[in-house]
Symmetry: D2
Subunit: 375 residues, 4 copies
């Protein structure tokens, strides 16, 4: 693991998600660029001191020299955005597959380079757009693909949060601090941090691609350096229209990612905060509430469910589905066989590249007088 030392948020999430299914064991880490902090973090995680490194470069070089079967199988990167590219590149160049937090990296150049390295190396690369790991998101995607809704006409995807309603970055809040800093976050704030999740979810469920967009980004908190709110009109490659809005100043909202997809025959509605329900609305038939584990769901939904209906699975379980699928595919790769296609289902470097382009395009559109910017 690269990053995720004491005080970090997403590092612990990755560790819990990886541990849940008993398929992945944390064996080493460079948890901080401060060697002492890395060491303390490793100790708290019950790692032997010999596997706790002072930098990702050291970790990759030293692990590479360990005998096969003993060295790490892959690298998890859980650092802020500007520190994704370095370790990802080093890992890929040294033969390690990668799990990387989103967004993919810091710039389009980095994104293209990572895509090139993945293709060239043939290694696995998973990007943790974790919200696609929920069983009911899989179900939604399956229903759209099976044509149950008919041709898709409209998509509304929202990601309101309220935690940056005040200038939290002026306190020492670590999460707020790097997310609002152009040096570490990139050219976008809320649009990069959560807008990309919304974009990814919409494309994942609908199977469509955004072709044009029109964005209005705002910075509401005085003195903030990046956008903290954005509203975007979307057009998709099949003629569907859409709305995407994401915000970190929607006061009182927790983490309210949600999506509605309407086709000719019916509509879907899913809310991340009640992730085990998928509401299905029909023309002139009663609304249905599909529930994780209840009735005849798609094989994709079933394969990503651990426990019986009514025992709620949450964020960590969905996140763990990314890791579990990655582990299954990696194991298959190491054993020279094809994994079951149902598990070949995690966000890839290609998704990461689309996310980076989304960031670029919404910023570009927001600054433009032209109505539509091609994606």
């Amino acid at each position: 693991m690269v990053g995720g030392g004491q005080g970090a948020f997403i590092g612990a999430v990755h560790r819990m998600a990886a541990a849940l299914d008993g398929e992945i064991e944390l064996v080493c880490g460079a948890f901080s660029s401060a060697p002492a902090k890395s060491k303390a973090s490793g100790e708290a995680l019950y790692l032997p001191a010999s596997r706790v490194y002072g930098s990702y470069e050291e970790m990759i070089q030293r692990e590479k020299q360990l005998p096969e079967g003993e060295r790490m199988d892959f690298v998890s990167i859980v650092t802020p955005n500007h520190l994704h590219f370095g370790p990802a590149k080093a890992a890929l160049e040294n033969g390690f597959s990668v799990v990387c937090d989103k967004p993919l990296c810091f710039s389009m150049e980095e994104a293209y380079e990572l895509q090139r390295l993945v293709r060239q190396s043939g290694l696995l690369f998973a990007l943790t757009h974790n919200y696609t790991g929920y069983p009911m998101v899989k179900q939604a995607r399956a229903m759209v693909r099976n044509g149950e809704l008919g041709k898709i006409r409209k998509i509304v995807v929202e990601y309101p949060q309220g935690w940056l309603s005040t200038k939290l970055e002026d306190s020492n809040q670590k999460q707020a601090s790097w997310r609002t800093d152009p040096q570490r976050s990139g050219i976008a704030g809320s649009m990069g941090d959560i807008g990309t999740h919304a974009e990814n979810l919409a494309e994942y469920i609908s199977g469509l691609q955004i072709t044009e967009l029109c964005a209005d980004l705002s910075t509401f908190v005085p003195g903030r350096l990046l956008d903290d709110d954005g509203n975007v009109l979307l057009r998709f490659d099949n003629g569907a229209k859409g709305v995407l809005h994401a915000s970190q100043i929607s006061a009182g909202e927790e983490n309210n990612l949600n999506i509605r997809v309407y086709g000719e025959k019916g509509g879907l509605e899913w809310h991340q905060m009640e992730p085990n329900s998928l509401i299905v609305k029909w023309l002139d038939k009663p609304k249905q509430v599909l529930r994780t584990g209840v009735g005849d769901l798609s094989p994709e939904a079933a394969a990503h469910t651990r426990i019986p209906a009514g025992h709620p699975e949450g964020y960590l379980e969905a996140f763990a589905n990314i890791y579990r699928n990655f582990a299954i595919c990696l194991r298959a790769r190491l054993q020279g066989r094809e994994p079951d296609p149902i598990y070949q289902d995690f966000p890839t470097v290609g998704d990461g590249l689309r996310g980076m382009r989304f960031i670029q395009r919404v910023v570009e559109s927001s600054e433009s007088d032209q109505k539509w910017v091609p994606f």
Copy 2:
């Protein structure tokens, strides 16, 4: 009453709303442009034949000749859009106050003329943007005005319906037929029919005015002549940003008008389909659910509530609040006194004019390559 003969929808709604509080009695009508139908409709409503007229012109002339105290006190206009202007003008010119269904009329010219006639006559004019009649909408407006949310930053208002997902106008469905016909509905379909409700609600609750917009209207059902879906970015006069989308092809949606308003200190959420709850979200405090009739609500909310908490009031009660307030104000006017300001609260010809301009601007914007169109 003008319009609302047998087979109509909104006419019966107006009659029930007007009757609910025992303050208004239906005394006469020109229920259809077909005299026989008008007559049959009047009979079914237990009106004496002498007060059932073959046309609105006849009604207004004949009623005017009745002695005061016997003749009608005001005119309700419940016809399709293209037939609002004629009876409204005639009523105002002959000294009758008016309640008129929305949108105000057919064109901006008509709108300006009606505004002029209202001003000149000093008569009352109510436009039935009925959704502002709900107690919890009054509560939301009061909370914004009192500064409880701080400065408003973002507004999301939605009005999805699904009933026009197929080409219903090809059957004989009366409601679908005129609403999708440019000759009767005007230059917009869904945007005029329901988009104006959304626009009115957003401005009513927030006390803000839209200054610029960017719209993307669509006609998804092949062969349909007017928009059946629209997505709009909004900018408000205090710097707030917004999203408005309205649709009649959101398959499976009933009549799901809803709004969220976010300020610096908190946010509000209201759904027309569960109108007795107003969700209030705070920065770092528990979410509250305000309910009609529970606890210390604003005087405005209390004045528009009829029955104790937990006895749900619905669409007709909200609609009746428009009529009740209009009746109170009209009675005060007839008695030469000022009505209690709390009841001087119904949509006016000015709101109607803004609605007509909204229609004009979204159509204009949708056809334009320019990003922002001033309101």
Copy 3:
């Protein structure tokens, strides 16, 4: 109308419910046992002074002397429980049909006598167990009757309120005052006021009858004279089991009547506070949410719905369905024809008698050491 003078709650509800559909007109009343108050109330309701009476006896005698077509068609009784019997008896003995608030009366003796008078006179008698007027309650009843749930096994019906959590009767609150007074309310408090609604709803929807019960009534507020909470185990005539609990000290509850009915194949759930949804749960199939006005509902549900889906109908509309059905049946009776069976659907004196017995039995059971008391 008997009762319902200024300051009363349920009288205004009856008037609004009766007025809504334009089928019933308030023509006279004895609104209070205090003649001056009755007079003032009548005036505020725009009644001519000649039709406002000082007592129900006077009203019935004087109206009876008016020519047919001019005199009142029926009597509405909206007084406290101990004042139902007198006017009901007088009305029935003088040829007037009756609408009476619930519970039926004060004692079993009165109940039997009223049943006898109704049978003997052949007049109509409606008891306003208004919650059975909701379209989705009709739908639930139809689904059970059609066997869609299979044989019913379990019923859970709840009616929690919180408004009597403190000793409100010590203030001058009129509603609290008579409801907690054995001289005016009868032998039960919460069980009579709202427990009977729960009992009626369970039997109406399920088509079953309670055969045995086991009750534990409590008075939580010190000094209160009647029960303010009760928990009851039920057994039904087909072998189904049930739980009924009603309370007026469930702090923070509004008027949360709700019911769940489980059969061999599926279950139903309905909440009075969101009355336009009926949740249907199936063995191994997705849950459905049936909604007023959406899709193929039962004819009974459709016949009791006024406006399109998504325009919420509430308490007054359900109450109005009782009045509307009563009016239709009364008109048919006056015209000497059979009403459409779909409208022969309002609670009768027989339902009232069951309610009175329910009150008697739960009080008896609560005082007994014996587990089961036959109904």
Copy 4:
């Protein structure tokens, strides 16, 4: 681990819950009474063959002989009810602390013996009444203890499931099979399996104890040998009244454990299927929705929350809280220090004993003509 071989449900839950926080590692197991199955299960869990045993007796003896630091630290028992006592007794007698699935055991005699062994050995014993592990349950308990609701008056606790609506035990469904078998489950079916969870939750949150009860148990599915539904009236030691009902034939219900607690000042409502919300209702103040991770919650709620608000934690996280607290207390014990009291919070052998008595009393009550049975 004892039990939990391939095909089991709760064994995998225990393993995921134990693994989540990186504090507990599965080191050995006797996963099945069939040695070959135990071996295969252990292999699938990546355990060395040497630590996979053919029986719990073998496991305990062999592990005991391993050097300290190498041998297991405690035993998890995840077998059906009739197989709890044997391994628990053996573990306690050989110096191993125990985590045991609920209900505690098979008979009152076994329960008393286990309580005696725990007291005598001074070892730790945790019973996985996992629903008390949810942060919002901790919050509810804290609010009651702090007197925020005033004196508690009424408790309604429900646990409806529908999965045994048909005679599933006649198929080869392993879960249904042992749960409906008196030889393996004990004297109660649904009341032992889920009724005890409801009883435990009510006492945990309220801090009260049941003193009397009156039960009506049923077996609805023909040929079933144990109760599949039960309705119970409760009385608590402070004078509060309650209702508990649990069912496995409530067709269409998933795992709908929920509770409402009403005091003099307000009420609480919590639903296991939406576990991150705690609804708080007040006399004459707006309802609040407390949410995991939002605002100033109790220290107990905060200490059992892993991730930020709006990232839903579910069943496994709550279950993991039991394991995590047990691990913290065990580690403190091994290190000879007192654990932080906030983590000394998991169900004990004493809770298990109360659960066994609850089973005994409801069965006794259900067969009795006497109304109240002392607890």
